[in-house]
């Protein structure tokens, strides 16, 4: 069984702080990580490999430094790593990104494609389903549990008000939730292999079949017209008083706002 896991290297946004004066993000020194939903997808793929045997390929589109995320995936146990990188890919929205990744996947054998539900820096949750559409595959998103059943998968697909248990025949694409599992750590041998034995293949525009007009910023239907920092509202009053007084202040405020009678 061949599994392709699509991952993205993202800044660890839980480490990002705001500059209190300018209201902008302080990005310096913020570490990069494998996007959490993607990491759960990788773990799910490796668990299938442990149980049933599988060849796991990790694929990312990004700048050359995304190599680090792929090395981490190799050290966790992935068999093959591909970095899709080219200036022509830069500035892509989700439509153009999925176009590029789908084109790369057409060059690979697969039974199952896994993508994280959404990336913590963009939060769109769009690239997974869009890859599935471009490859004409069934998709199941928001997957919280997965079991293999012959050439099908039994999946738990989460909704706001419950879940569906779904059977889908491979080949298919699923998107995974970070709460699905706890990813394994890299092993010492794994780290050694990731840097000494295994290699990260670099694929550029020359390695995939796609029209150049569909790539990057030029191929993107959507554009950023402008970006801005949110206006910061004036903070309210702050009190550092004893608990009894604090409770009284809260009560008075709630009455003033007609929240309580």
């Amino acid at each position: 069984m061949n599994i392709i896991v699509c991952i993205k290297q993202v800044p660890d946004t839980t480490e990002v702080r705001l500059d209190p004066k300018t209201g902008t993000l302080i990005r310096d020194g913020v570490p990069s990580i494998i996007n959490p939903d993607d990491k759960a997808g990788l773990e799910a793929a490796l668990a299938l490999k442990d149980e049933h045997g599988a060849h796991v390929t990790v694929l990312t589109m990004g700048p050359p430094q995304a190599d680090n995320a792929l090395r981490e995936a190799l050290a966790m146990g992935a068999d093959r790593a591909i970095l899709l990188t080219d200036r022509k890919f830069a500035g892509a929205d989700t439509w153009a990104t999925s176009m590029t990744i789908a084109a790369a996947i057409r060059n690979l054998d697969y039974d199952l494609i896994i993508a994280g539900r959404q990336a913590i820096d963009g939060d769109t949750a769009q690239v997974g389903p869009q890859i599935a559409e471009k490859l004409n595959l069934p998709q199941v998103s928001y997957v919280d549990d997965m079991k293999k059943d012959g050439d099908s998968l039994i999946l738990k697909r989460v909704f706001e008000d419950g879940y569906h248990r779904i059977k889908v025949q491979m080949p298919c694409l699923i998107t995974t939730l970070s709460e699905m599992n706890t990813a394994r750590y890299m092993s010492v041998q794994g780290i050694f292999d990731a840097y000494r034995e295994k290699e990260v293949e670099t694929w550029t525009y020359a390695n995939i079949e796609v029209e150049e007009q569909h790539l990057g910023l030029k191929g993107s239907p959507t554009r950023v017209k402008k970006s801005f920092t949110k206006s910061v509202k004036a903070p309210g009053k702050k009190y550092d008083v004893d608990p009894q007084q604090a409770a009284q202040i809260i009560l008075e405020n709630l009455k003033e706002k007609y929240i309580i009678d």
Binding site: T13, I120, S141, R223, V224, D240
Partner: protein, 336 residues
């Protein structure tokens, strides 16, 4: 592609068990506003089977036409039949704008549809406006954890698609005098369209009222200390006639169900009152609650960023202040 071939605002109206989701009603309300500006119609698209809600309600909220595709294959959400039905209607009606609720259904369906009809899709918009000069949509969304806002346009492709989270747009007052039409559109499905098999549909009834619908939320963060101490937040919420919600840290620690998570990866809420207890106020959390009408923050750390978002800031220990509050707050009718 000629832009003039495309007009009107289409709203995908999501149903579950025959009832229209609140977010869809919010989007019909917003769609009316946009359509008035663009001088066009609002078409509400309902995909389902044996609808229980009266679809005239969508007309009262601003739709000129309700397009109903009533097929048994659409009773429960499945990506492919929903995509097929929606694409058929979209190609036929050629809307200029499509709005979809950013639910776990909308965020599965909308990207699939946008990829099939090759147009742009902007996720989780918090503001939708019309550019007065070009008549293009200006779709503003939070980026990078919610602090930076980006305004996105889709200048060359039609329709212009966006998803919007529940609670972001305001529900209009229904006008029962409004008139419109309900059109039934048939869609034929092949067996190959049913490319997944739903083995089981499970409703999670343990969940109390949805935090997105609550007027009052008492929300706990890591600073609450331990799961047992969440109980005092529950009693405060009960007294105020509200619900308990939480930050991601508390959900990840397993102190409360994920359905109660507020923030970028959780839900966007805007209750009348939001009491943040022991929540430091990471930007991801603020993105989910800063539109609340009145925010009270209680935290021991006087430098906690939550205080910058609060209307009333109390530096102190939640577990000392809540008991004092309970002594003086009037008993709520739900408490008996």
């Amino acid at each position: 592609m000629k832009h003039t071939d495309y007009k009107d605002v289409m709203v995908f109206c999501e149903q579950r068990e025959g009832r229209i989701e609140k977010v869809s009603k919010e989007l019909v309300s917003k769609g009316r506003e946009l359509a008035d500006n663009l001088e066009c119609c609002v078409r509400a698209l309902v995909l389902g089977h044996d609808m229980k809600d009266d679809l005239n309600e969508l007309i009262h909220l601003g739709a000129d036409e309700v397009i109903l595709v009533d097929e048994k294959e659409l009773a429960v959400f499945m990506t492919e039949p929903y995509t097929k039905a929606m694409v058929q209607v979209v190609l036929d009606r050629k809307p200029d704008v499509i709005l979809v609720g950013a639910s776990t259904i909308g965020r599965d369906l909308a990207p699939r549809v946008s990829a099939r009809i090759n147009t742009g899709l902007t996720a989780d918009c918090t503001s939708l406006e019309v550019d007065e000069e070009t008549k293009n949509m200006l779709m503003t969304r939070p980026a990078f954890g919610g602090n930076i806002m980006a305004t996105i346009i889709c200048p060359e492709h039609r329709p212009q698609m966006s998803t919007v989270r529940p609670g972001v747009m305001t529900l209009a007052e229904p006008n029962t005098d409004r008139i419109g039409v309900i059109s039934k559109v048939p869609v034929k499905f092949e067996t190959t369209d049913m490319n997944i098999e739903i083995l089981e549909v499970v409703k999670e009834t343990k969940q109390k009222a949805n935090i997105e619908d609550a007027n009052v939320l008492v929300s706990g963060g890591r600073g609450v200390g331990n799961p047992d101490k969440m109980k005092s937040l529950e009693s405060l919420a009960l007294r105020l006639g509200g619900n308990v919600s939480a930050s991601r840290a508390v959900v990840d620690a397993g102190w409360i169900d994920r359905n109660n998570q507020v923030g970028q990866t959780g839900k966007t809420v805007r209750p009348d009152l939001y009491i943040a207890c022991g929540i430091s106020g990471a930007i991801q959390h603020l993105a989910g609650m800063e539109e609340s009408e009145f925010i009270v923050a209680i935290n021991k750390d006087e430098t906690a960023p939550i205080f910058d978002a609060a209307d009333l800031s109390i530096v102190g220990d939640v577990h000392k202040i809540i008991p004092e509050l309970m002594k003086i707050l009037p008993i709520h009718e739900n408490e008996q």
